[in-house]
């Protein structure tokens, strides 16, 4: 794994050549510093700024005197870059939320003394937020698509693909988390039919509350316990339904994304295949265009010719009629 860095030598040559070239190319740079700064003090600052900037020529978007040189390198990225950045920010946000969600899941599954409503709400909130983010990103992703065989559209397609892969991985992860959570919830629910420690404790506390209100201790006890557990089951049922719903939603997103994502290990995943493909599509496009042009031209000509022939006929008939009638 040996490598050799030739940058220093390259720089040396380049600087040496630059100093040779100075007489011809120095005029714009001095004029720029003169134009940019009003007085001698500012000029000093601006030249140092320029020198610093020179390292990153593409970044210098303003520099009036240098415009002839700058025009080639200056250029804001196209608008779709913003969209792609938004999506990647969303993905990032979803990822941090996912970590929170994992924590919340773990907390909710721990046996606790409270009714865990707060945890539930938090989980719900987080899940919805993540799915929302994913859905939003997916919608934006559709906007990235572009038509046409130009290089730019190629890049867009590739950016789209890469983001789609990210999104898909994220949604897979989310789904996996949810399904394990769901499984644990189910297990707990089944546990409640038997004697459950948590349930007992919950019930035990409610006994004390109920004691103050009613006298029919034993029966009411049982009733309250039953009611509580019923309410609990309904609550859990609802939660499960919610989780299932978001699983379905994710499945939909997944389906949409799978069109974009590259299957690994197939020919589509080969670099050289992609290059060839681009070339052939461009060539094909050109061929189609030429063909279209030809047919169009010919179509007009044929129309013209037929019209003329028909006209000729009509004229001939008229001529004949004229000679016969008169």
């Amino acid at each position: 794994m040996a490598t050799r860095n030739r940058t220093l030598i390259f720089r040396k040559y380049r600087d040496a050549l630059k100093s040779v070239r100075v007489p011809s190319s120095s005029s714009p740079s001095t004029s720029s510093s003169g134009g940019g700064g009003g007085g001698p003090v500012i000029e000093l600052a601006s030249t140092s700024f320029l020198n610093h900037n020179r390292k990153y020529t593409p970044l210098s978007t303003e520099d009036p005197g240098n415009s002839s040189k700058g025009a080639l390198t200056v250029g804001l990225p196209p608008a779709w870059v913003d969209v792609s950045e938004e999506i990647s920010v969303n993905v990032q946000r979803a990822r941090t939320k996912m970590v929170e969600l994992a924590k919340a899941h773990a907390k909710a599954l721990m046996p606790s003394f409270g009714d865990g409503k707060e945890d539930q709400r938090m989980i719900e909130g987080l899940t919805q937020e993540i799915t929302g983010l994913l859905r939003k990103s997916e919608k934006k992703l559709q906007r990235l698509a572009a038509a046409g065989p130009s290089e730019d559209s190629n890049i867009r397609k590739n950016v789209q693909r890469s983001l789609a892969t990210d999104l898909q991985n994220l949604s897979m992860e989310l789904r996996r988390k949810q399904s394990t959570y769901l499984k644990h919830l189910r297990q707990q629910k089944e546990g409640q039919d038997g004697v459950d420690l948590e349930m007992n404790l919950n019930g035990g506390r409610s006994i004390i509350d109920d004691d103050n209100l009613d006298d029919m201790v034993f029966n009411e006890h049982q009733m309250a316990k039953l009611k509580k557990s019923e309410a609990f089951t309904v609550e859990r049922e609802r939660e499960i339904e919610q989780v299932v719903e978001s699983v379905n939603e994710l499945a939909q997103i997944m389906k949409d994304l799978s069109v974009l994502v590259i299957d690994q290990g197939t020919i589509v995943d080969r670099i050289d295949y992609n290059i060839q493909n681009v070339e052939t599509t461009i060539e094909e496009g050109l061929k189609q265009l030429q063909k279209a042009e030809r047919t169009q031209k010919r179509g007009g000509m044929v129309m013209c010719a037929t019209a003329l022939v028909i006209m000729c006929f009509i004229m001939l008939v008229l001529l004949v009629l004229k000679t016969i009638l008169f």
Partner: protein, 568 residues
């Protein structure tokens, strides 16, 4: 693992330090180098959103300053010219130049001269100048491979180019391994000698600083041999999976093009056969054809099981499970249909060309003696209608190589018969082969009939009988490897270059075959490496041969040799 991981690591290092959106610009050679070790999705992960060829990118004028250009090129004259033009009118924000081999000072000078706008951020040499098709097998994909057969007297201009490319490739392999080898070559081959001497000059004189790794262990061995020392291996029909696919269909940079074989769905027309990405192929690439059938049947059964369990989805849990396993399922589906298509296609060809019959005879000619019986069998096959032209030609060649000196009359009879049977056969091709690779030219003991030990070994094998008639042939390379392991490679036959001699047993051996390797040899090397002899072998060649390519090279060389003698 060595070669593939080294090349991957180079690509990784190129891309990881440059943040932001990138465009990777390659030339026609580095495309192969990168493609066999890296995938499109991995590139996307590294934020490489466009891959272009250096000559096609110069056609477009669109400015894309939001992208950073990463060039990975061979330091050739044309590439430098392309770069010059592109640096003078930069379309991309930054340029990072990576070269796959050593740059000359003048080249750096030219580049520095054209970089007036200072877009170049770095200039590096990353020595990934070989196509690592398998962990222990690399090739250089040289298009003008046939040049090596021409005698040095003719000295066509292409010959120096071929030599340079080979020297570049070999030195890149050793730079990637971070070692400086001792060099040996096959005595009877002029081209092997020339390459060995040029490599040695580069490593010990011109760039001795670069190759000085201050390692104290025993230096590895570089052995340069000539394809003509073993002309039999590329002429045989193959029956192990990878070799067979290459022989019957053709593998190019781990891709198989099936579009010529007829009606196939679009995604099956070109498939990837890479031992790195395909676990099934990795497990079965060295198995013989019969066992492949069994393995594939097992794979199809497994797949059916999975498919069945995916069919009955009743509960939501099933659904969730299905969605989870769906990508895996799809991958499996693609893989199964790929291998099934390949094997069906090949068995069709085997049936059509009566290859079972032909190959049995070929193996017999290559491994066992008995001239009279062989002559009769070959004559019979020549008159068999269903044997194809190329198989006839190969049979006669194999016979001629084996019984070159015995009964020239019968050999002439075979030539005549071949000429009358196959109208496409170019006269003199077999004679040309004999002139090129006849018994007087060969160093190694190809048929194992030169010294007593080998004869005895052959007889012992004959008594024991063979397991499989179709895979009984062992390439000459196998013997060479064995003698290296035992330290018995003769100095007279394989002399050292300069005064750098081997001390002790080497741990790494790179064998380079000028004129191309075969997958049969690659298999032999892989099996040898798996057997833990303490020596790691790496095989390299100018191309990967199948019989079609070998014959084409032969024809090409004959044509050039003929025209040049006519001129003289």
């Amino acid at each position: 693992m060595v070669l593939v991981s080294a090349a991957r690591e180079y690509v990784n290092r190129m891309l990881q330090d440059i943040s932001g959106m990138k465009v990777l610009i390659l030339d026609s050679q580095t495309v192969s180098i990168v493609s066999v070790v890296y995938s499109q999705s991995e590139l996307l992960q590294k934020e490489v959103f466009l891959v272009e060829l250096v000559d096609s990118i110069s056609k477009s004028k669109e400015s894309m300053s939001h992208l950073k250009a990463v060039y990975f090129l061979r330091p050739t004259l044309e590439n430098i010219q392309h770069l010059r033009r592109q640096l003078a009118n930069p379309r991309f924000g930054e340029s990072h130049l990576f070269f796959s081999n050593m740059l000359k000072d003048t080249q750096i000078h030219i580049l520095a001269d054209s970089d007036e706008q200072e877009v170049v951020q770095q200039v590096q040499e990353y020595y990934a100048d070989f196509v690592a098709i398998d962990p222990y097998h690399f090739t250089l994909n040289i298009p003008s491979n046939h040049m090596y057969m021409l005698p040095a007297v003719v000295d066509p201009p292409g010959l120096q180019q071929l030599c340079d490319r080979i020297v570049d490739g070999i030195s890149a392999v050793f730079l990637a391994l971070k070692r400086r080898p001792v060099i040996r070559y096959q005595r009877t081959s002029d081209i092997a000698k020339r390459i060995a001497q040029e490599t040695s000059k580069l490593m010990y004189q011109q760039e001795s600083g670069l190759f000085d790794f201050r390692r104290t262990e025993i230096s590895p061995l570089l052995l340069i041999v000539d394809r003509r020392d073993d002309p039999v291996t590329p002429l045989l029909n193959q029956w192990t999976y990878q070799a067979m696919v290459h022989e019957l269909v053709g593998i190019h940079d781990n891709k198989v093009d099936l579009s010529s074989t007829g009606k196939l769905p679009k995604d099956q027309q070109e498939v990837v056969l890479s031992s790195e990405q395909d676990a099934f192929f990795k497990a079965n690439m060295y198995e013989n054809f019969g066992d492949i059938g069994m393995s594939i049947k097992r794979m199809v059964d497994d797949f059916q099981q999975v498919a069945k369990s995916n069919q009955n989805i009743q509960t939501i849990e099933d659904m969730a499970k299905f969605v989870d396993s769906y990508p895996e399922y799809r991958k499996m589906h693609g893989n199964v249909s790929k291998h099934v298509t390949l094997v069906t296609e090949m068995s069709k060809i085997v049936e059509e060309r009566k290859l079972m019959l032909v190959s049995e005879r070929e193996q017999d000619l290559a491994c066992n003696g008995g001239q009279v019986a062989a002559f009769e069998a070959v004559t019979n096959l020549l008159s068999n209608e269903s044997v194809s032209d190329i198989d006839r030609l190969r049979l006669v060649m194999l016979y001629a190589l084996r019984y070159e000196k015995e009964s020239p009359v019968q050999l002439m009879q075979l030539f005549n018969k071949l000429a009358s049977r196959s109208p496409k056969y170019k006269t003199g091709l077999v004679q040309f082969l004999l002139k090129q690779a006849g018994v007087d030219k060969r160093t190694g003991d190809l048929y194992g009939n030169r010294d007593l030990l080998n004869i005895a070994r052959n007889m012992a094998r004959g008594l024991k009988g063979v397991e499989n008639v179709y895979t009984q042939h062992q390439p000459l390379l196998f013997q060479t490897m064995e003698s290296i392991i035992k330290g018995r490679l003769r100095d007279v036959d394989y002399p050292f270059v300069g005064n750098h001699f081997q001390q002790g047993r080497p741990q790494d051996v790179v064998i380079f075959v000028v004129g191309g390797t075969t997958y049969e040899e690659s298999r032999s090397v892989a099996l040898q490496n798996a057997s833990n002899s303490g020596i790691r072998f790496i095989l390299g060649g100018s191309v990967v041969l199948n019989s079609k390519r070998f014959l084409k090279d032969l024809e090409e060389a004959q044509r050039i040799a003929k025209s040049s003698t006519n001129v003289v």
